[in-house]
Symmetry: C2
Subunit: 506 residues, 2 copies
């Protein structure tokens, strides 16, 4: 951090709020800071000491990563100590929040946590916020790329970052690749540590000084804390990464693969990403066959890396895997053994201010959705009832960057239509979506006249999304629009920091 060198007014008429020089931390300055720290004595101390030494006080911002997803133990460990120390009114900036974090409920109720930035939000915490809102601000949803941007441009200023590491030495060199709690790539906190004023590494596997395989280097780490367990890596991939056996899912995946092939995007050197969701992942299976038969090698596959993508990569169908977050032990061991399975930061992955980011180089992106409307807007955060149940993830980032973005979804779930007049909550703007594939019909965004004609030439029948929606409504009936409250409890930020939509209380 620089130092403030001039006394400045807080506000200047016609100009606005004054951000004084020295208050925006740059990477360069942070590196200088840590040089000083490393000259001190041992960094290995208890969690309580580390928090006290970090200078954490009321009103500050703490950050966490979600690579351990539903198996994460770190947030609970940390907030227990914070609570013991009586520190209140904290802003929690997590790369995402899972069901396992229901354990934080008491810290929201008692005012320990008063503001939240996250990609996902759900379960008991969501209920508490939507029924008994007592934060100081609505929950702010950010995409993975948007979060990297916000940390870099100072929109989020992290005071203390807590980083779970499955492998860490006493200086703070770390990775997530080895150890009993190995989770793979550690792409999200790579951004946090560069800008946080203080960073605390937490590990259950203190190893001799590392000289290779360092994902985050010691220079960014102020303290190292050893605990019994950072989490349960068995719970990382729950549900999200298997290939479906449901015939309806497979039908949609097969149709999507046919559309992809007909569109001409599956060609030598192309790049590919599939979001989480069984249909999305099942598309890989059908593309695999086509690529093999036609001797097509893709340049890279990217995103959250699953066993399916490793399978394609090791079959020589992609030259590289770019991995921000690893799902499951097969993918973790690939990261450790394959030189071209490359770990990347959230910045390198999806930061809209980083022109060279991977999402900007994507040809094909497959997305899931909980709802999609006749303007192709996607909802992935709330149910149609407005209840917070999901996450933005990297979907809006990839949709903006990829040349072809396809949404795969069933036309209805339990008699609720998935294609609707208006999604309850806009999470990815429709102008970035090119095609919707359902079991009942394929719809192309009217903006993409080029795709409409190429699919026609290749005998893929498409229909207007309004027609499809009407057909579905005939079966499900017109859905009731459920009334939510008037109080704002959540904000959907687009990756550039603008506001896409708002979530209300229940």
């Amino acid at each position: 951090m620089g130092k403030i060198i001039r006394k400045l007014p807080e506000y200047i008429e016609g100009y606005g709020k004054v951000v004084p020089y020295g208050t925006i931390i740059t990477k360069k300055e942070k590196a200088k800071l840590s040089d000083v720290v490393t000259k001190k004595n041992s960094k290995v101390i208890s969690l309580e000491e580390a928090i006290i030494n970090s200078g954490l006080i009321d009103g500050m911002t703490v950050s966490f990563h979600h690579h351990l997803r539903n198996g994460d133990y770190i947030m609970e460990l940390v907030f227990k100590i914070i609570n013991k120390l009586g520190i209140k009114d904290l802003t929690l900036s997590a790369s995402s929040i899972s069901k396992t974090h229901d354990c934080l409920l008491e810290y929201i109720k008692d005012g320990t946590i008063t503001k939240i930035y996250t990609s996902g939000f759900r379960s008991a915490l969501a209920n508490e916020i939507q029924y008994n809102f007592n934060l100081k601000a609505p929950v702010i949803f950010m995409t993975h790329g948007g979060r990297a941007r916000a940390i870099e441009d100072g929109s989020i200023s992290i005071d203390v970052s807590f980083v779970a590491a499955s492998c860490c030495d006493k200086l703070g060199n770390m990775n997530g690749k080895y150890g009993k709690s190995a989770f793979g790539a550690i792409g999200y906190p790579m951004v946090d540590v560069k800008y946080a004023k203080k960073t605390i590494a937490i590990t259950d596997n203190l190893v001799p000084i590392m000289d290779k395989d360092i994902s985050i280097p010691k220079d960014y780490i102020d303290s190292v804390v050893v605990v019994e367990s950072i989490g349960n890596p068995q719970l990382i991939a729950t549900g999200a990464t298997r290939i479906s056996r449901n015939p309806m899912d497979l039908l949609i995946a097969k149709k999507a693969a046919n559309v992809l092939i007909a569109s001409g995007y599956i060609k030598e050197n192309y790049s590919f990403q599939a979001g989480s969701g069984v249909i999305s992942l099942s598309v890989c299976k059908f593309i695999r066959e086509y690529m093999k038969k036609n001797s097509i090698t893709g340049e890279f596959a990217s995103g959250g890396i699953t066993a399916n993508l490793v399978d394609l990569f090791e079959a020589g169908l992609f030259r590289k895997l770019y991995d921000v977050q690893t799902f499951g032990s097969d993918a973790i061991s690939s990261l450790n053994r394959n030189e071209n399975h490359i770990e990347m930061s959230a910045d390198e992955y999806a930061n809209p201010a980083n022109k060279e980011c991977i999402v900007n180089k994507l040809d094909v992106m497959i997305l899931s959705a909980t709802e999609i409307d006749v303007n192709f807007n996607i909802n992935s955060v709330t149910g149609s009832d407005g209840r917070m149940i999901g996450a933005l993830g990297g979907a809006p980032d990839t949709a903006a960057g990829a040349k072809l973005t396809i949404v795969v979804a069933p036309s209805m779930r339990k008699r609720f239509p998935i294609v609707v007049d208006n999604v309850k909550t806009i999470c990815t703007p429709g102008e970035n979506i090119d095609i919707l594939v359902t079991e009942r019909g394929i719809c192309v965004n009217p903006r993409r006249t080029d795709l409409i004609s190429i699919l026609k030439r290749n005998n893929i029948v498409t229909t207007s999304i309004v027609t499809l929606k009407n057909d579905i409504y005939k079966l499900t009936g017109v859905p009731n629009i459920l009334k939510t409250g008037d109080n704002i409890v959540g904000i959907i930020e687009y990756r550039d920091g603008s506001v896409l939509d708002i979530i209300y209380d229940l």
Copy 2:
């Protein structure tokens, strides 16, 4: 521009001002917009038609570039028509403003221009602002890199950009390399055109359709206006680019070259930039000899490219020249004939949000200063009396990026000390300055203990900057601190958008 798809509140408690999705223009979206435009009829129309077609109305923002510097005719031409059309209350975002723009005085007085962003400000306009302030906001000074950042992140939202081109075809393909008013690189508006809602090219040299040497392509251009003359290129380089013959200047330049050599930075593959100012440019002369004698070839020289740098380049002493702004006909003809004399945008040059920018790759930067204080802070915008007389330019960008930043300055000018206790206006923070070289002594920033010892080992005598300042004060007397008014008329923004200092009325 995207479209706003949800009605949103303007302000949310705990969150702040809401920037709706669709109001931040991205490059991708802008490209789409222009596609539509190019399908229309001829773009070649009169300036008045072009302004009317652009939709310019009261309260909007217009932008200009300063590649023609003191020889620019465009701003006057444009504001005459704007005035005729009765459009008022405009924000002027210029990459810089010169003495020749005193002709805009009437448009400030009559409320046509009510807010100004610029790198430099001086002469009659500065007097008007400091004695009879009637803008809606203080003049906001931005570095060349800071301006690129602000346009990209939406801090400045340009409605209509006016781009002078010395060579342009009827579709809007253009460069500044050829024609009677050739000025060389056109690096500054390369950023504007990508984000401006409308862009008007103005040329005095309409050429047949261009298929090469296109610096800004047609896709970004909405209209093309042909005028008799866009400016007088003879006035581009006035004063700033000759090698000095003043013995004092040469003495300081020689000392600076010795310091550079002793510091070990002048080595194979190093990179170099020298700011405007005769001493700074004279350093090249002495480095040339050393590089030749020791067979050192630098990787690149960058910035504003002058005949001196072309001379070093053509002597094979640098492999590349990166050029954002070209000074003088010798440098212009080099840009046209030498493949490795490369034009770059202000973004590629110095945008702090662009990690790959050239200033981040600089080894050595030589800067001038109107004042420097005992904390190494530099003033380059005002006199010690607080009067606006200069510019930020790219100095704060290069100082932040370069590994070694040296300030060259005489210890006094006309009995006024240049080294002082406190500069009147902080323009480049002292923490980014490494060495000060004056004829009376050489001072190293105490932060750079490495440089202090290496210079000592190489028999370069240094002194503390406080001692030097005291020695100078013995000769000049302690300068009176001139009292300025209490009303804020100017703001010095650091390249990251934070505020470094403030300028008051007189």
